[in-house]
């Protein structure tokens, strides 16, 4: 084309481009879809995600950079992009019946969701801080709107506003960090930063900049002490949005975090490793301890999501050790995938029990579920066991992998914190199981095809992948090997 854009620039981020175009087209197409047939918009959105997923899968194994090194396509990005697109598909599947039942059915829902996925994908592929910033905004702003979608409910409105205000605040940290890093190194590209940093000038500014970046990402993935927004937003937002947010934003946030710190700041490992370790330990402890006292299932899962951010962060602690790094990051990616699968299933069950006006969301509303609806209760049991890290579920394999990496990296104390907090978490996850099996109650459950499909499929995947984790392991490992 010209000196500004090459075809290879476009192919590097082709899945994101396709999805962007599709989302824009969907926005227009939605105008012509009558109000009582908004299900069509969901189907079209799912087709767009599937098309993008198809393109992503053809990219497996390929590597390229685009836009003068601002975005990268590699094994890491295809692995995570595939995960994000699948998350998007689950997000649509969960929303399909839910938004109608709750009276929230609007075409914008799906368009916003697609734009958010585009932001997440760009975040995964970014190799320049400016792109990270743009991608972060692109993923966040639709989520702010989606969180407040049920504006007639004061909680949803509060969720949207809180998420927006705190999110903007954290973005401020991120931008300030980028500015300081640019000041210290004269570059915003990862390779430029690394080159400048390894010559060893202005270390302090760079360290402060990196710390501020960590705050920004820590907010997105809900790491303690940047987690305060999570319970309120997760509780207030429509449940289908929460499910998508809990997986998607975490995947994107961790991906960007990892890429930035591994590629741009390898010189800062000595300063940053103890900080990562402390944050991971703090997140696991605080998340799990506060979850113990929750009685609302959405808040319980919100704190569980915070705790899991701690587990995943644990995988990045030994990132400065070149021998352990590939295994440990692969463990983190595997755990992210395991968490995403389990998470969608658990939120699917929550949606199945939720009623109009925020009813049906107490843990006690699950009493007697097994005797009313066996498959649903069994699926929820599988998800709870997986979140504890108990066999036969993928969560157990994930934790096995994760703790092994941490011990391999020499952080036995962190692994001990990890297993002890897992034990604490067993207490509150089991409370859900106790209610479903051992208490008497008359729970009402909703049943919609795509909802049942989502929790059914994820429950099967959670169990089956624990017996045959090899392919996912292999993919996660190769994804990391191509990162460097």
């Amino acid at each position: 084309m010209s000196q500004y854009i090459n075809p290879s620039d476009l192919t590097t981020i082709l899945p994101a481009i396709v999805l962007t175009v599709w989302a824009c087209a969907l926005l227009v197409a939605d105008l012509f879809i009558p109000h009582e047939r908004k299900g069509w918009t969901a189907v079209l959105a799912a087709l767009g995600l599937a098309a993008s997923l198809g393109i992503t899968l053809t990219q497996v194994g390929g590597t390229s950079t685009g836009f003068k090194g601002m975005v990268t396509l590699d094994g890491f990005s295809t692995f995570l992009n595939a995960m994000l697109l699948v998350s998007g598909l689950f997000g649509v599947a969960l929303a399909y019946g839910y938004v109608r039942r709750m009276g929230l059915e609007r075409g914008e829902y799906y368009t916003l969701l697609l734009f958010s996925v585009v932001g997440m994908m760009l975040m995964v592929q970014a190799s320049d801080l400016i792109v990270v910033f743009i991608a972060l905004e692109l993923l966040s702003i639709p989520l702010y709107v989606l969180a407040a979608l049920n504006a007639r409910q004061i909680e949803s409105e509060e969720a949207g506003l809180k998420y927006f205000l705190l999110g903007s605040f954290s973005t401020g940290f991120l931008v300030y960090g980028i500015a300081l890093i640019f000041g210290a190194t004269g570059s915003t590209s990862y390779s430029g930063i690394m080159t400048a940093a390894s010559t060893g000038t202005s270390g302090l500014l760079l360290t402060i900049g990196a710390a501020l970046l960590l705050v920004g990402f820590g907010f997105k993935v809900a790491v303690v002490p940047f987690h305060m927004w999570t319970p309120d937003v997760y509780q207030g937002a429509p449940t289908s949005v929460t499910a998508f947010m809990a997986s998607g934003a975490k995947i994107a946030g961790f991906a960007a975090l990892l890429r930035v710190f591994a590629l741009a700041f390898p010189t800062l490992t000595a300063d940053l490793t103890p900080i990562f370790a402390a944050l991971a330990a703090l997140t696991m402890i605080v998340g799990n301890l506060i979850a113990v006292s929750q009685t609302n299932i959405k808040r319980l899962l919100a704190y569980s999501s915070i705790a899991h951010a701690g587990y995943i962060l644990m995988a990045f602690v030994p990132y400065g050790n070149p021998q352990v790094m590939p295994v440990s990051v692969a463990a983190g990616l595997f755990y992210l995938a395991a968490y995403a699968v389990t998470n969608f299933g658990a939120w699917g069950v929550v949606i199945a029990l939720e009623k109009q006006g925020g009813k049906g969301l107490e843990v006690s509303d699950y009493a007697g579920l097994f005797w009313k609806n066996r498959p649903l209760a069994l699926a929820m049991t599988v998800f709870m066991l997986s979140l504890i890290g108990f066999p036969p579920t993928i969560g157990m394999v994930g934790k096995f992998y994760l703790f092994r990496a941490v011990i391999d990296g020499g952080f036995i104390w962190l692994a001990i914190v990890g297993v002890v907090t897992s034990l604490i978490s067993a207490y509150y996850y089991l409370r859900v199981v106790v209610n479903m099996f051992m208490q008497e109650g008359e729970p009402q459950t909703g049943s919609e095809f795509w909802l049942n499909f989502t929790w059914g499929l994820t429950a099967l995947a959670t169990v089956i992948l624990s017996f045959v984790p090899q392919p996912l392991f292999a993919w996660a490992s190769s994804a990391v090997l191509r990162l460097f």
């Binding site: 066999p391 703790f403 067993a426 089991l430 099996f437 051992m438 292999a474």
Partner: protein, 503 residues
């Protein structure tokens, strides 16, 4: 897919077919459900006998299975490896033997949610078999943790009034130990570059200081399961609340998973640490023997009495095992079986009388022998077996254990065995006290009360006799002629002891 046709794989996973069959039977057809579960477990028992027939007792190493690569990526080397040797063959048989008996005991005791009960029970059997057969630490850990899940539901759904408390306590207590073991397993996996137990034993070479910590981490998991004093407090709650069949399996098999773990992992993987720690384990075992016996005597609930007697009996098993000589370990293995038989019988019998009276308070009973002579006789045999009367199985086990512990180099002092011998006498005290109060003397108030409700106290029916009869046969068989049982384990135990760095 060749591994699917392996005898041990079939033995382990056969009950899953039963689960599948149960899933298609409507919940109202309770008898069909019971028969399906019973037939499944009987076939499993048949499979275990088939395994026994192929088992070569003179061969000390692992048999009837070979490793298959399962997960091999990025420094992982996890195998699907089931195998059986002299340490586990008897426990495998015990598991397959006790499960149908437990199912039979639920015939009239479990009337609600029969389908789910049977499904959980068969899943439990899969987990237990896997624990005794797995030769890869990852595989073992999966089975080990998995057994918790069905047992948790069995206690929590079909248990007594405080079932939820007991179930959650059981789950969390056991998990607390397991997670420490998990860390040790991971450390070993990294250090030895494999999770295969035979390979790890062959490689050895773990530094002495590290062995100590790894030994402790494994001990945390197993000592809670056994349970060793002072980690036993979950056991009485779990037993009292569990349904009869759950108690039988809990005492008969699940506790043995702990003692078996010591035998299979702690001793051969960390031999130096095992030798160093032997006196300490012996000390805790001795305290457990005396403490369990003393607390048993103080119980007013007969099920709790038997539960605490388990703490005492398993103290003997631990003492014998950490004598770290052939006699001690063989006695310990045999005593594991004995405890499964006699305590299993006691729990079954208590369950049978409880079904009629709905109380387990010792003081409301009395003079039962006159009213229910068959029940009284069988109870007497089971009680005498439990207290170690010569001629019955308990005596052989305890005697061999004490013999081993007296002469043990590893323990280093005959005092532990000497004090433990007092535990045998104390067992006589609490068992005979229980028997006297319930079966002899003046007729207890419960007899009148039951009559008041319209039906007199009846003796055992044919099904109940059939349930306990197999146990009685083995109680006498082991008591009178234990040689075939010892023969199964001797070569393996000989090799195990020979590899120990005894002073």
């Amino acid at each position: 897919m060749e591994f699917l046709s392996q005898p041990l794989t079939l033995l382990t996973f056969f009950p899953l077919l039963g689960v599948l069959a149960l899933a298609f039977i409507p919940g109202e057809r309770k008898n069909l459900l019971r028969w399906t579960a019973l037939v499944t477990t009987l076939v499993t028992f048949g499979l275990s006998l088939w395994v026994l027939s192929m088992f070569d007792a003179s061969n000390p190493s692992l048999q009837l299975g070979k490793p298959y690569d399962w997960i091999t990526v990025a420094g992982w080397n996890i195998q699907y490896h089931l195998g059986v040797d002299g340490l586990s063959i008897l426990l495998v048989l015990l598991t397959a033997f006790l499960t149908p008996i437990s199912i039979l005991s639920t015939w009239t005791a479990v009337e609600e949610r029969v389908k789910d009960f049977m499904m959980f029970f068969l899943l439990l059997e899969v987990g237990m078999m896997g624990v005794f057969l797995a030769q890869d630490l990852f595989l073992f850990y999966i089975f080990w943790e998995f057994t918790l899940v069905p047992m948790y539901f069995l206690i929590g759904i079909w248990g007594g009034p405080r079932r939820i408390y007991a179930a959650v306590k059981f789950f969390l207590y056991t998990m607390a130990g397991s997670i420490l073991m998990l860390l040790a397993i991971l450390w070993l996996g990294i250090y030895q570059q494999t999770f295969s137990v035979p390979e790890m034993i062959a490689k050895g070479g773990i530094p002495n200081g590290v062995q100590f910590w790894l030994f402790l981490a494994f001990t945390a998991a197993f000592a809670i399961k056994v349970p060793m004093w002072p980690l036993h407090s979950w056991l009485p709650d779990a037993h009292v609340e569990a349904p009869t069949a759950g108690s039988v399996i809990l005492a008969g098999v699940l506790l043995k998973m702990g003692t078996y773990g010591f035998l299979r992992f702690n001793i051969p993987l960390f031999p130096q640490a095992a030798v160093q720690m032997a006196p300490w384990i012996a000390l805790f075992a001795t305290i457990g023997i005396i403490y369990g016996a003393a607390v048993s005597y103080a119980q007013s609930d007969v099920k709790k009495l038997v539960a605490y007697s388990s703490v005492s009996h398993l103290g003997f098993v631990m003492l014998g095992m950490f004598a770290l000589n052939e006699q001690g370990i063989e006695g310990a293995i045999l005593q594991m079986i004995n405890h499964g038989l006699s305590t299993g019988a006691l729990f079954l019998l208590i369950g049978m009388i409880y079904e009629q009276t709905h109380t387990r308070e010792i003081k409301v009973y009395g003079g039962l022998w006159k009213i229910t002579p068959i029940f009284g006789t069988i109870m007497l045999i089971a009680s005498l077996s439990s207290m170690g009367l010569p001629g019955l199985n308990g005596f052989v086990g305890e005697f061999t254990i004490l013999l081993g512990a007296f002469g043990s180099q590893a323990i280093g002092s005959p005092w532990f065995a000497g004090i433990s011998a007092a535990g045998v006498i104390m067992a006589a005290v609490y068992i005979l006290y229980m028997f006297q109060k319930m079966f002899l003397g003046p007729t207890g108030s419960i007899v009148e009360e039951v009559k008041h409700h319209g039906h007199a106290l009846r003796d055992l029916n044919w099904r109940e006799i059939l349930t306990v009869l197999p146990l009685l046969i083995f109680i006498f068989w082991i008591g009178l002629y234990p040689k075939p049982f010892f023969d199964l384990m001797t070569p393996t135990v000989h090799n195990l002891v020979a590899a120990l760095p005894l002073p």
